[in-house]
C-alpha cells in the first residue's frame, strides 16, 4: 500500500519535471526562431522605404534594374544587375570546382579509402572548414591571384575567377561532410546485393551508392551553394569589386554581399542608398532561407522514402 503511494508520487514528480523540461526546451527553440524572424523584420523595415516612401521610390526604382551601380553620385544609380551577375559568376565558379571535389572525395572516403586515409582525410577537410574567411581572402589576394594571373594571362589580377576559386575552399568542406554522411547512410544490404550481382567496387560506388545517396548529396550541394552565395569577405578582398556588367570570368566583379560589406559602414543613415543596401540584404536572406528549406524538406521527403524502399 505505502509503496504504491511512493511510486505514484515519484511518477508525479518525474512527470512534472518532464513537463518543465519540455517547456524550457520549447521556449529556447522559440527564442531562436523569433530571433531569425526579428532579423528578417528589422532588415525589411529598413528596406521598405524603397517601396513605401514616394521620394525614395522615385529615386531608386527607375534605376534599380539597370546596369549601373553608382550609389554615391549627384544622380545616384542603383542598378543591381552588375552585382547580381557578379554573385552568379563567383558562385558558379565556386560550385563547378567544389561539387566534383566535395562529392568525389566523399565517395572515395566512404567506398575506397583505407582506414588510415579516411582518418586523415576527414579531419583535414574539417580543418579547412575552420579557416576564417579573412585568411582565405588574404591568401587569394596575395598568392592565388598571382598564380591565376600567370595561368590565364588576364590583365586584371583580381577577378571573378580568383574569388570563385577561393570561395570553393569554403564550400568544399560543407559538401564533403554532408555527402559523406549521406553516402555512409546507404544500407550495407544494397552494396552487398550489388556485389552479389557481380558488380565491381567501382560499379557499385557509381551506379548504386551514389544514386542512392543522391538526395543527401543534393542537400549538401544546396547548403554549399548557400555558403558560396553568402560569402562576403573573400569576394571583398579577391575580386577587385568593380561593378561591371560582364559575364567574363576574367573581369573584375562586384557581388551583392561585398557591396553591403563595403558600403554599409559609412552610408548616410536613412538615405535611399541605405535602404537599397537593406533591400539587397533582405533578398540575400530570403534566398538563403529558400535554399536551406529546400535542402531540408527535399532530403526529408526523398531520402527517407528511398531508404524505406517506397
Amino acid at each position: 500500500m505505502t509503496s504504491t503511494i511512493v511510486t505514484l508520487k515519484v511518477n508525479q514528480t518525474a512527470k512534472r519535471l518532464d513537463r518543465i523540461a519540455k517547456n524550457v526546451i520549447f521556449g529556447v527553440s522559440l527564442v531562436s526562431i523569433s530571433i531569425i524572424l526579428l532579423i528578417l523584420i528589422f532588415t525589411f523595415k529598413e528596406a521598405k522605404d524603397v517601396f513605401f516612401v514616394a521620394s525614395v521610390r522615385e529615386e531608386v526604382l527607375p534605376t534599380l534594374l539597370g546596369t549601373n551601380w553608382q550609389p554615391v553620385s549627384d544622380s545616384p544609380k542603383y542598378g543591381i544587375i552588375p552585382l547580381l551577375i557578379g554573385t552568379i559568376k563567383t558562385t558558379l565558379i565556386a560550385m563547378v570546382i567544389a561539387v566534383p571535389i566535395g562529392v568525389l572525395s566523399a565517395l572515395y572516403s566512404v567506398m575506397f579509402a583505407p582506414k588510415w586515409t579516411k582518418e586523415v582525410l576527414k579531419p583535414a577537410v574539417e580543418l579547412v572548414a575552420g579557416l576564417p574567411s579573412v585568411v582565405i581572402g588574404f591568401f587569394a589576394l596575395v598568392v592565388l591571384s598571382g598564380w591565376l594571373q600567370a595561368l590565364t594571362g588576364s590583365p586584371f589580377r583580381l577577378n571573378a575567377l580568383v574569388g570563385g576559386v577561393a570561395i570553393s575552399l569554403t564550400a568544399i568542406p560543407i559538401i564533403f561532410t554532408i555527402s559523406e554522411e549521406a553516402l555512409s547512410a546507404v544500407p550495407q544490404s544494397m552494396k552487398e546485393a550489388s556485389y552479389a550481382l557481380g558488380a565491381t567496387e567501382w560499379e557499385t560506388a557509381f551506379y548504386v551508392v551514389l544514386p542512392a545517396a543522391y538526395p543527401g548529396i543534393f542537400a549538401g550541394v544546396l547548403l554549399g551553394l548557400g555558403r558560396a552565395f553568402g560569402e562576403t569577405l573573400i569576394v571583398l578582398m579577391a575580386t577587385g569589386n568593380a561593378a561591371i556588367t560582364s559575364w567574363s570570368l576574367l573581369d573584375s566583379t562586384r557581388t551583392l554581399t561585398a557591396t553591403i560589406g563595403a558600403e554599409m559602414a559609412e552610408v548616410v543613415f536613412g538615405d535611399p542608398h541605405y535602404n537599397v543596401l537593406f533591400l539587397i540584404g533582405t533578398f540575400l536572406f530570403l534566398f538563403s532561407m529558400v535554399l536551406n528549406l529546400t535542402a531540408e524538406f527535399y532530403v526529408k521527403a526523398k531520402l527517407l522514402k528511398k531508404f524505406r524502399g517506397e
Binding site: N68, W69, Q70, P71, V72, S73, D74, K77, P82, L141, V142, G146, P155, F156, R157, L158, L236, M237, G240, N241, A242, A243, I244, T245, S252, R254, A262, E263, M264, A265, E266, V267, V268, F269, G270, D271
Partner: protein, 290 residues
C-alpha cells in the same frame, strides 16, 4: 550578509560614475577609420603627459561617428569628410545650434604607380580622364600599349568622396575602377601590378612610386610633402575634422587645444598626415618641383 555592503558600494560607485560631472568622465572620440590611428596616437601621448585625462578612441567610419555624436555616445566625432547637409540639419534640430567643425590635420591624396612606370607627374585633368574612363591605355600617356588597371577606394570612404569631388568634379567613376578596402591594400595591389594606378594617402610600400601632381596641364608639378600640403601648393589635399555638438569645455577643450598645438601637429606628421598650418621647423624646406 557580508556581501550586501559590498554590493551597495558597487552600486554607489556605478551611480557616482554615471552622474560624475563632465570633468571626470573619459572623453570619447569616435568616427573615421582613416583617422583612428592618428586619434589613438594623440590620445596615447596626451594621456602620458596628463595622466588624469582619459580618452577613448574608436573607429567604425565617419558616418558611424556622426550618428554617435548625434546620439551623444561620443563627445568628439572624427570625420575625414565634411558633414553632409542632412546630418547638419539633424544636429541643428536636436541641439538648436550648428555643429562645431574643427580641422585638425590635413591629408594629401597621392597617385601611386608601379615603380617601373616611367611617368613622374600627372595633371588633375589626366587623373580625371583615367578615373572616368576616357583614357584607357598607357599609350595615351606616352608609355606602352597596355590597358590601365585602375584601383580606387570603396564609395564608403572619405577618400573616395574627396577624390570624386576634387578630381572628378563630381562626375561618376568609371565602372571598371576596382575598389579595395584601405590605402594599404591599394598600395600593395599597385606594387604587384605593372600597369596599375591607384590613389590614397601617403602610404609607403615597396614597389610603388608617387606621381607629382599638377593643378593644370601647364602648372608646375608639386610633390606631396609636409610643406606643400600645409601651405596648399599641393593641389589634392583635404582637411580632417573634429566635430562637436557643444562648445568644448574643461578637459575636452584642453585636449583639442593640445591637438592643434605644434606638438599635436607634429604627431600627425609622424602618422603620415600633414599639419593644418606650416609648422615652424618646416618653413625652411623648399618646395620641390620638377
Amino acid at each position: 550578509m557580508q556581501r550586501i555592503p559590498y554590493a551597495y558600494s558597487l552600486i554607489l560607485v556605478l551611480l557616482l560614475g554615471a552622474c560624475a560631472p563632465d570633468e571626470e568622465r573619459p572623453i570619447t572620440v569616435r568616427g573615421s577609420d582613416t583617422m583612428v590611428a592618428i586619434g589613438q596616437k594623440w590620445a596615447e601621448i596626451y594621456m602620458q603627459k596628463f595622466p588624469e585625462a582619459t580618452i577613448q578612441v574608436n573607429g567604425g567610419g565617419s558616418g558611424t561617428g556622426i550618428s554617435a555624436l548625434i546620439n551623444r555616445i561620443a563627445d568628439i566625432c572624427q570625420s575625414s569628410r565634411p558633414m553632409k547637409k542632412r546630418e547638419r540639419d539633424i544636429i541643428k534640430a536636436k541641439y538648436g545650434r550648428d555643429v562645431i567643425e574643427i580641422p585638425v590635420a590635413k591629408d594629401g591624396i597621392v597617385i601611386y604607380v608601379h615603380e617601373t612606370n616611367p611617368l613622374s607627374e600627372i595633371s588633375i585633368a589626366q587623373m580625371k580622364a583615367i578615373y572616368t574612363g576616357k583614357i584607357k591605355n598607357w599609350k595615351e600617356l606616352g608609355w606602352e600599349d597596355q590597358s590601365i588597371v585602375i584601383y580606387g577606394r570603396e564609395n564608403s570612404s572619405g577618400t573616395y568622396e574627396f577624390f570624386k569631388k576634387r578630381v572628378l568634379d563630381g562626375d561618376d567613376f568609371d565602372s571598371r575602377v576596382q575598389t579595395l578596402p584601405g590605402t594599404g591594400a591599394i598600395a600593395n595591389a599597385v606594387a604587384q601590378d605593372k600597369y596599375a594606378i591607384g590613389y590614397g594617402g601617403i602610404a609607403y610600400s615597396r614597389g610603388i612610386k608617387f606621381l607629382a601632381a599638377k593643378e593644370t596641364d601647364d602648372s608646375p608639378a608639386v610633390v606631396a610633402s609636409e610643406l606643400t600640403v600645409a601651405n596648399n601648393s599641393y593641389p589634392v589635399s583635404r582637411d580632417l575634422y573634429f566635430y562637436l555638438v557643444k562648445e568644448p569645455q574643461g578637459r575636452t577643450k584642453a585636449f583639442i587645444e593640445w591637438v592643434l598645438s605644434d606638438e599635436g601637429q607634429s604627431l600627425a606628421v609622424e602618422e603620415g598626415y600633414f599639419p593644418v598650418r606650416p609648422l615652424d621647423h618646416l618653413r625652411s624646406e623648399t618646395v620641390s618641383t620638377k
